[in-house]
């Protein structure tokens, strides 16, 4: 049983948001092979429904903490495609002035707090951001995304316990794409039912089909409402799959092509498209109109990044400490 589709405009917007991530990242991969983007590049392709579904439930002043696989989250939290692309080019017009790169996207105005490349490292930060809101009496929510690999880290357990003890307003979203680099879940967790880990800290938890954006949104909306109401943290496991390599350096020896093909067949974008067509809300022309908008956004982002400038080396030492006016 699928959750009912939301109203038409919103359903089409979910498709639009997922396509923004997909096309943006396809372009990024291409630019990577051309060596315009360097460093590590972790693609989210296949997992778009998670970010799209969760972000649809947030307000602009809610906060997000992501991982190194965060282009999609940043984009949907309101960080501009242009500033993300420029960041990946290493240009000073990038959202982190070229100091962070793909893994460290930051945007204070959008309340997007990285871009954390230490597995598990973002969880304590999310607890702290939520604690700040709780102390200030603000009814804002902090959402923390991480992979299932992070659940074996001590920081996961410490953070769940602390968040639950102090009832801080955090939604923990585990993006279970079944592999931490090349290590399958069964090979890294003695208890593979991830929801039970969260429940052991008395954090209300549930799993959701992370390939179904409608289901993710419904589950996230319910969780966010409880969190915003001051009922403490929640945990959502989104069961998903990464279609591409872990990063651009990965021969994918740990899984067979057939498995990848099967998951691709149930990809989040195809899946929503099919439902929209069945509902009579989407035809080839309407889809092409969305694709054209996305193409334009991505092309503009690349043009912006190309036109961007290199920060002068004389500025190397800036932003290590805050400049205090004397």
């Amino acid at each position: 049983m699928s959750d009912p589709l939301p109203e038409r405009e919103h359903a089409l917007d979910l498709l639009h948001q997922m396509l923004r991530i997909r096309r943006f990242e396809e372009k990024a991969a291409e630019l990577y092979t051309q060596e315009r983007i360097r460093g590590f590049l972790h693609l989210y392709i296949g997992e778009e429904a998670v970010a799209a579904g969760v972000m649809a439930t947030l307000r602009p002043d809610d906060a997000v903490v992501g991982t190194y696989r965060e282009h999609g989250h940043a984009l949907l939290k309101g960080v501009s495609a242009a500033s993300i692309m420029a960041e990946m080019f290493g240009k000073q017009e990038g959202c982190s002035r070229g100091r962070g790169g793909s893994m460290h996207l930051f945007d204070a105005k959008a309340r997007f707090y990285g871009g954390n490349a230490i597995v598990g490292g973002g969880l304590p930060l999310a607890v702290g951001l939520a604690l700040a809101d709780q102390r200030a009496g603000l009814s804002r929510v902090t959402v923390c995304f991480f992979g299932e690999g992070a659940m074996a880290e001590g920081e996961f357990h410490e953070s769940m316990n602390l968040a639950a003890l102090w009832r801080v307003p955090v939604l923990f979203v585990c993006e279970n794409n079944r592999y931490a680099m090349g290590t399958a879940l069964e090979r890294s967790e003695s208890e593979t039912d991830l929801v039970r880990h969260a429940e052991s800290y008395r954090v209300p938890a549930r799993a959701v089909d992370g390939m179904d954006v409608v289901a993710v949104e419904a589950a996230a909306r319910e969780a966010v409402e409880h969190v915003r109401a001051g009922e403490g943290p929640r945990f959502l496991e989104a069961q998903t799959y990464r279609f591409r390599a872990h990063s651009m350096f990965d021969a994918q020896l740990y899984r067979d092509k057939h498995e990848v093909e099967q998951w691709r067949g149930r990809g989040p974008i195809v899946r929503l498209q099919t439902r929209l067509r069945e509902a009579g809300w989407l035809d080839d022309d309407a889809l092409e109109a969305i694709e054209a908008r996305v193409r334009q956004e991505v092309a503009d982002a690349v043009a912006f990044a190309e036109a961007g400038t290199w920060e002068p080396v004389e500025e190397l030492l800036r932003d290590v400490y805050t400049e205090v006016p004397r």
Binding site: P124, A130, G154, D319, V320, Y321
Partner: protein, 324 residues
């Protein structure tokens, strides 16, 4: 002037900060009901309540990271780690988050967190409770590292650290909490960007900080009895280092001995020697010497622990050797 202790001076600083700014709160293991493992926060829970004096579970990484996150979210947390030995479990948060986020965000975010911890050896607690890690932390760009060694600094460094927009680590030598003396009734914030000359002299410069300051001052007194007037510099701030005060003294005395409770290899003492080489080599009349901890995990047995740490006799001997 009033009689007080180092412990009470830190407590007075925390109390004043909490009274003055509702964003300030204290969190750490046993800071509340227990009163702090060194009794620094005794009484603060009753005075400020459990929202402002937060006992945390034994989760150094989570509560230090939460302090960083809360600072990023607009609060002014004071995070207490029982001792620097346990800070290793929070090293990821300190090094990979507190120290980097300002830079990685291209200057968008500041992390005004203060992290206090006890440091040092000397109480027969054996290797795992006797580390001096302030020199390690002083290696990291993006954080500031303080080592209050006097009542004035115990009282005054915290308010300045809280005003600072960036992460500040304060290392309180565990052997100093009972240090007693007179403190001005109006003692308050002190600068955290310069070293202090604690004793003037013209024959040799002794550079030190934290728990070693008092041993060094004692050594200087002994040397004075032999007619050797040593100048004693208390670094106070280990990052950024105040080179100017060190070099001014070396230019005057032409000799330097560094006293540092850290191990010799790759130490803060090594860094200071290097800076003297870079900036004042031709002023020297003798090679710079170091008195550091022996390269051994700090042993339990009293005589061995004593032998492993910088001591007054060793400092005096190093100065005599310098003078030839």
């Amino acid at each position: 002037m009033s009689r007080t202790t180092y412990r009470e001076a830190v407590r007075a600083a925390i109390r004043e900060a909490m009274q003055g700014d509702p964003r300030v709160f204290l969190m750490g293991e046993d800071v509340g009901a227990y009163g702090g493992c060194y009794a620094v926060s005794m009484g603060l829970l009753d005075e400020f309540g459990a929202d402002r004096v937060r006992d945390t579970p034994l989760s150094e990484s989570a509560f230090v990271g939460a302090g960083i996150g809360a600072a990023m979210g607009g609060q002014r947390p004071i995070v207490e780690i029982m001792t620097c030995n346990f800070s290793l479990l929070a090293l990821d948060q300190i090094m990979n988050n507190a120290a980097t986020i300002r830079h990685m965000s291209g200057g968008q975010l500041s992390i005004p967190v203060v992290i206090r911890m006890a440091t040092g050896a000397g109480r027969q607690l054996a290797a795992q409770h006797s580390h001096s890690l302030e020199g390690w932390y002083a290696h990291i760009p993006g954080i500031k590292v303080l080592a209050p060694a006097t009542l004035e600094d115990a009282r005054g460094m915290l308010p300045t650290a809280l005003e600072d927009p960036d992460p500040v680590l304060i290392f309180e030598h565990a052997g100093l909490y009972n240090l007693a003396g007179e403190l001005a009734d109006d003692a308050g914030a002190v600068p955290i960007d310069r070293a202090a000359v604690r004793r003037a002299g013209d024959r040799v410069t002794l550079v030190t900080y934290g728990g070693s300051l008092h041993k060094t001052l004692e050594a200087a007194e002994r040397l004075a009895g032999e007619g050797v007037e040593a100048e004693v510099i208390d670094l106070r701030t280990l990052r950024p280092l105040d080179d100017a005060t060190i070099m001014a003294s070396v230019r005057k005395t032409h000799r330097a001995v560094i006293v540092d409770e850290g191990w010799r290899s790759g130490s803060l003492a090594a860094e200071i020697v290097a800076r003297i080489m870079e900036q004042a080599l031709y002023e020297l009349d003798a090679p710079v010497a170091r008195v550091c901890s022996a390269e051994v995990p700090i042993p339990y047995a009293k005589h061995l622990e004593h032998a492993a740490l910088p001591q007054v006799e060793g400092i005096v001997a190093a100065v005599r050797a310098q003078l030839g």
